[in-house]
Structures are given as structure tokens and as C-alpha cells.
Subunit: 93 residues, 2 copies
């Protein structure tokens, strides 16, 4: 899995809403109604991430969920990160 | 719920292992075997936090879980944070 160039990443991000390229990762923030909704979303994402064997870097405070996707082994953003971003959007959207 | 003084916090932290007072919060990092173990622990903590109506600020990367506990309304660390820290230690320990 090879890291994409910044140009490729910016181009591919055009298909996504609410994601940006930030600190070398695909990055987004979701706001939910409350903690229960936020953690429910995290649980759904966790199962898919585990299935994909590709895990997010994420943090949660009450109803807010911030996600960074990058590929450690490739030291950058790969197709796998876009795959997980798409899955996350499908789960949350 | 009143914020504790730094002196009170340091004193109370003596009863805890692996926690420090950092950036105005009770702070710890747990390392698990893998993502599944980390997220399972988060799930157990999430239910207790919700029951307590007191939620952590936490971030997870693969097998690592970093937790900050503070009380927004009191703008500091309160007894409630120590209560949640104790519950977390009981769940994880």
C-alpha cells in the first residue's frame, strides 16, 4: 500500500464532504446529539475498522468525535484510508 | 460540584496508580493487546460514564487509550472525576 501524493489526496477528497487533509491525515469532526449517539457511532465504526484491519486515530468528548485516518506503514494517506472514510460516511450519513 | 485545588488533587492522586494531573485534568494512558481489547475497555467505560452522567475526554489509536477527566461546569477537577477514575481502574485493572 503506497502513500498517495498530496495532489492525489486533494483530488480524491473532492468526492467527500466534511473531510479535509490535515496533519498528514484524512480528518473530520462529527457532532452527535449526545454521548450515547457518539459512542454508538464509534462502535459501528470500530467493527468495520477491525474487519478492514485498518484503525482510526480518534478522540471523543461528549457528543463530538474527531477522526484522523492515515496509514502508519506507508507513513501517509493510502487508498485504505479513503476506503475507511467512505465506510464511516456510509455508517454515519 | 466544586473544583478541587491542585494540592487536593495531588494528595488524592496518591491513592491512584498510573494517573497524573496534566493539563488541568486527571490523565492516564492504557495500553492493550490490540484494538479489540482497547475498544472493549472503552465500551465498558462508556456505559459507566453514561450512568454517572460524567464523560471522559479520550482518544484511541490501535491498542492505546488516553484519558483526560475534568469537570467542564466546574472548570477543573472535581470529586466526580476521581469517582470516574476509580470506576475505570476497577473496570480495567
Amino acid at each position: 500500500m503506497k502513500a498517495l501524493s498530496e495532489k492525489q489526496i486533494i483530488e480524491k477528497l473532492k468526492e467527500f464532504e466534511g473531510w479535509d487533509y490535515y496533519e498528514g491525515a484524512l480528518h473530520t469532526i462529527f457532532e452527535f446529539e449526545d454521548f450515547k449517539e457518539a459512542f454508538s457511532a464509534m462502535t459501528r465504526i470500530a467493527f468495520e475498522a477491525e474487519k478492514l484491519q485498518h484503525h482510526p486515530e480518534w478522540s471523543n468528548v461528549y457528543n463530538s468525535l474527531e477522526i484522523y485516518l492515515s496509514t502508519h506503514d506507508a507513513d501517509g494517506v493510502t487508498e485504505k484510508d479513503f476506503e475507511l472514510a467512505k465506510i464511516i460516511d456510509e455508517l454515519i450519513g
